[in-house]
Symmetry: C2
Subunit: 238 residues, 2 copies
């Protein structure tokens, strides 16, 4: 429950891959509940004293359809993600992403394209919601995510650092010079980038449609993120 996560600053992760990915990261582990077999098999990788439980016990607390052999509680990291990060890196700024699947998918995309930092507006869906945690397929272990007032955050970006955002009156992304650093704002599924965030955009980007005549009105938020990240990396590949 969100309330529990907020009071205790802990979140739950289930399944071998996800738990091992998190144990390999710097995310603090609080509790591990696992079967004896799982504990024996992964003894070398466990950074906390595990609580042995049976699969039956796990099946009573799991959020998944089938109980996995391990379930763990981790501390919610509090990344000190300042706009200074933008001097050398790309940072995604999510402006009100509502769909848990989209947020999980965006973390996987960032992870694939080597983007390590994401800033989320306060009204973006909670990353530590078990559905989102699982949808990240382990990428949550490798990405720093800060929830904050994004207009405030964007206002502190040093002069000269580009802030990109997709926009219907933007320039064709395929023929733009895209930099190796800067912020990329991704707008919400239903209403795009908010007015307050839009004020900070220095470079408007358009993913052009290649359809003659009538076509889809828009691309899904995670699909647009994928194409944008792909273009930034392709253009700057050695």
């Amino acid at each position: 429950m969100k309330k529990f996560r907020e009071i205790h600053h802990q979140f739950m992760a289930e399944g071998t891959k996800l738990v091992l990915d998190l144990l390999e990261s710097s995310v603090p582990v609080k509790m591990i509940f696992a079967t004896d077999e799982w504990i024996r098999e992964h003894a070398g990788k466990i950074r906390a004293v595990p609580v042995p439980v049976t699969l039956e016990e796990l099946s009573r607390i799991t959020a998944l359809a089938t109980a996995p052999p391990v379930l763990a509680l981790f501390g919610v990291p509090e990344p000190g993600l300042t706009p200074d990060a933008l001097k050398s890196d790309l940072v995604l700024v999510l402006d009100e992403i509502h769909d848990p699947g989209n947020l999980g998918t965006i973390l996987r995309i960032a992870d694939w394209f080597g983007i390590r930092q994401i800033v989320c507006s306060e009204n973006t869906v909670d990353l530590y919601n078990p559905k989102v945690v699982q949808a990240t397929m382990g990428s949550i272990a490798r990405i720093s995510v800060l929830y904050t007032n994004i207009a405030d955050w964007l206002s502190k970006i040093p002069e000269g650092i580009p802030v990109y955002g997709t926009s219907l009156d933007g320039e064709n992304i395929y023929s733009q010079k895209l930099t190796r650093n800067g912020a990329i704002i991704i707008g919400s599924e239903s209403s795009g980038i908010s007015r307050e965030a839009r004020l900070f955009i220095t470079n408007k980007l358009l993913i052009p449609s290649f359809s003659d005549g009538a076509h889809a009105e828009s691309l899904n938020a995670s699909v647009a993120t994928a194409i944008v990240c792909s273009e930034f990396r392709r253009m700057n590949a050695v």
Copy 2:
């Protein structure tokens, strides 16, 4: 219900945008149930005698959380999609896509990038499932979708036409020559492209990761589709 769709070759679409998109297409309309107000407002676009109903009546048959002012039944199109289409156009071939959201998103992507034809393996999720119909956001009206045995279909492709597929041992997509025509096979969420379909690939493509060190194991099927379609269109843009 799938049984109903198979027996009657009809599917249901709800909401103004989706129904109007379908009414503008060549998909045959069977029945329209709408409020008096909706019928008056859209009289010029209705290709069938509408049945006036109240919002209350609609709320008893809708699959959505809130009843929209219109619900219509359309005939399932039976596209005569032969491999000859590949001589001038790109065709997506979906090899066992399970997730309704992914299939809907892939139709939107195809629609955006001007790809008009999709071939689905028989074990791909049913396009005419109301969830998928709604997730296409109207793109279902503009894309021809054939369900068939894809290995059979691929085996009939004329000599010399490229068949692309993503593969971990493929060549970097960003430095490949991608053609304006041919088939692009998209593999399933869990196991990629099946062995039978893989035999027909002439050009293996890899979307490279740009992460140093550990990273996501894979990209979501619709995300990979988006990046691949974007690259084909970018490279051949005038």
